[in-house]
Symmetry: C2
């Protein structure tokens, strides 16, 4: 039997905690016997949720944590002061090697800070990027960095490209994943000082398969498996994409409900439309890993439902089985030293 994958879940983080966190994680554990869940948070609240489901008791443990870090709290302060919070206790379990992975739908800032301070970076990794999968017209691409490190340096982006390539190769099974640089034009001379400096570095980096600049339309069409960006622009890309999709789908829905005629039309299209648009559902990918740490730290959307948490837990299994941390260590250390 293969090794267990021990996941520390911040049971109190996110808009739908602990209900959806417990539901999604238990589903994943029932599906995959290698998963061992540690629900970190308020004992009674977690136990009450767990009572609703059937599961193998040896796959589930509760770790009591009396404090909760709220979304609005200044992250550094929160991580330093709230030692009894679900987030800090869950992160410490990864740091101390008692867990392989951490999953939270709570404060992004606190997870990013906590991941770096408590779990710690792999030696040689300058900045750990937040790396969500984004659904594209032709599949999905990994976008990094999408918000962990603002004001990045060129060498940071080269590391993002390497780590992203390791991820796409091993987690998604893509041979020689293509790497694109997010930019505001396709030609090499386009862009700001940062991307102009990064372009030749990526071009001459032997560990990656660089294919050039990506405008948002190229990135969202899926022209590259890995999209490298500094955090500010990457975050704007991701959030614009989510916001536009949200606005347009709301408009389409409200239009379909507007008259009797359109309601009948909607009935005929609904199922097919749902299937078609399903592939743009980011929750399929189960949160974004913070790459380059001594353990897996996964940030799920604040609004995550059971499905995203379920997928986040399954992602942890692949991440461990494919030894992503070791492979990142290798590509960063060996090649950079």
């Amino acid at each position: 039997m293969s090794e267990m994958v021990r996941i520390a879940l911040d049971a109190m983080g996110g808009d739908n905690a602990p209900g959806e966190i417990v539901k999604g994680a238990v589903q994943a554990a029932n599906e995959d016997g290698r998963i061992k869940l540690f629900f970190v948070g308020r004992q009674e609240a977690i136990a009450a949720e767990l009572e609703k489901y059937t599961y193998h008791p040896e796959q589930v443990e509760i770790v009591n944590a009396t404090e909760v870090i709220e979304t609005g709290e200044p992250p550094v302060m929160a991580i330093r002061k709230k030692k009894e919070s679900s987030m800090v206790k869950a992160l410490m379990m990864v740091k101390e090697g008692r867990c392989d992975a951490y999953v939270s739908a709570g404060s992004t800032g606190a997870t990013l800070v906590g991941g770096q301070i408590l779990v710690g970076r792999i030696k040689g990794v300058e900045r750990p990027p937040l790396a969500p999968m984004i659904p594209t017209a032709s599949g999905a691409s990994l976008l990094l960095d999408c918000g962990a490190n603002v004001d990045a340096k060129p060498s940071n982006l080269v590391q993002f490209a390497k780590m992203g390539s390791v991820y796409m190769k091993n987690v998604l099974g893509i041979d020689r994943p293509t790497v694109g640089l997010l930019n505001i034009g396709a030609e090499e001379e386009k862009g700001n000082a940062l991307v102009k400096e990064v372009f030749p570095l990526l071009e001459h980096c032997p560990d990656i398969n660089f294919i050039g600049n990506m405008e948002p339309k190229d990135a969202l069409s899926g022209k590259a498996d890995v999209i490298v960006s500094e955090a500010f622009a990457g975050n704007i890309l991701l959030k614009s994409y989510e916001a536009t999709a949200g606005i347009l789908l709301r408009e389409v829905k409200s239009c379909m409900k507007s008259t009797l005629k359109t309601k009948i039309g909607a009935l005929l299209i609904k199922k097919k439309l749902k299937d078609t648009l399903g592939k743009f559902d980011a929750s399929e990918y189960g949160g974004a890993p913070l790459l380059g740490l001594n353990g897996l730290v996964v940030k799920a959307h604040g609004s995550s439902k059971a499905k995203e948490i379920h997928n986040a837990c399954l992602q942890c299994v692949t991440f461990k089985e494919q030894r992503i941390c070791d492979q990142i260590k290798e590509i960063i250390r060996v090649k950079d030293e």
Copy 2:
């Protein structure tokens, strides 16, 4: 009778030139007797297009230009060398006061460079931003800078806020237009070094109605009339928005065509859906002005059809009648000196 508004059209610029350029501009002239069109480009090609329409001859002139600046050409070189191009000749007509405005669907880079070098900046304007209207869930907002000046300084962004406010007040008639700063979080302490420095400057700027940071979802919901950004992030926002809308609408359309059932459904919804999504059609706004120059320079999409050119010409009338250049001179000079 009010003064004529003289527009120099780059008749050779864009994917659909000169056909759609001539068509759209003539439509605008027929609608508004104050418009005087100068079609700059290859005499015979323009004349051949003009033959298709009825118009008042005193409203239309052809200015022969033998060269064309292509989209791929390095902009600075193209503007310097191709003195006989439609773009350079049209821009010179604005510089020399023979025209009030310039409209082109050609190379963005060449229009930006040519606008700055040939037409020139208003005294005191540090960087002229490209300022498109973007359709939002609740109307439309002005986004600036969306690509003219990368690596901007904080003081540039304060000027963008002022110029954008002048534009929205006078062109759109919005009293005390709200100004938001594009950012990756809502709180004041969020963002990169640039936006952190800009935030207090905007907060304490007496000429504008600053309402805080805008994440993409806020910007695209229409929370602020003016969205201030440096060019790289602004361009990523705009392009992501356009790309996402394009991808999703293609998916919805292809889904509707997929089976007999969905085709019938589509027939019932089509008209309503077109109306609903029509408000997200950027061509309604007729291109993006490059603000802060000694004259109006409007960049229309490369793929512009007659409708966008028509609207761009009408925009020129409002721009002149509302004395936008004078008002920008005033807000930049008086307040900055």
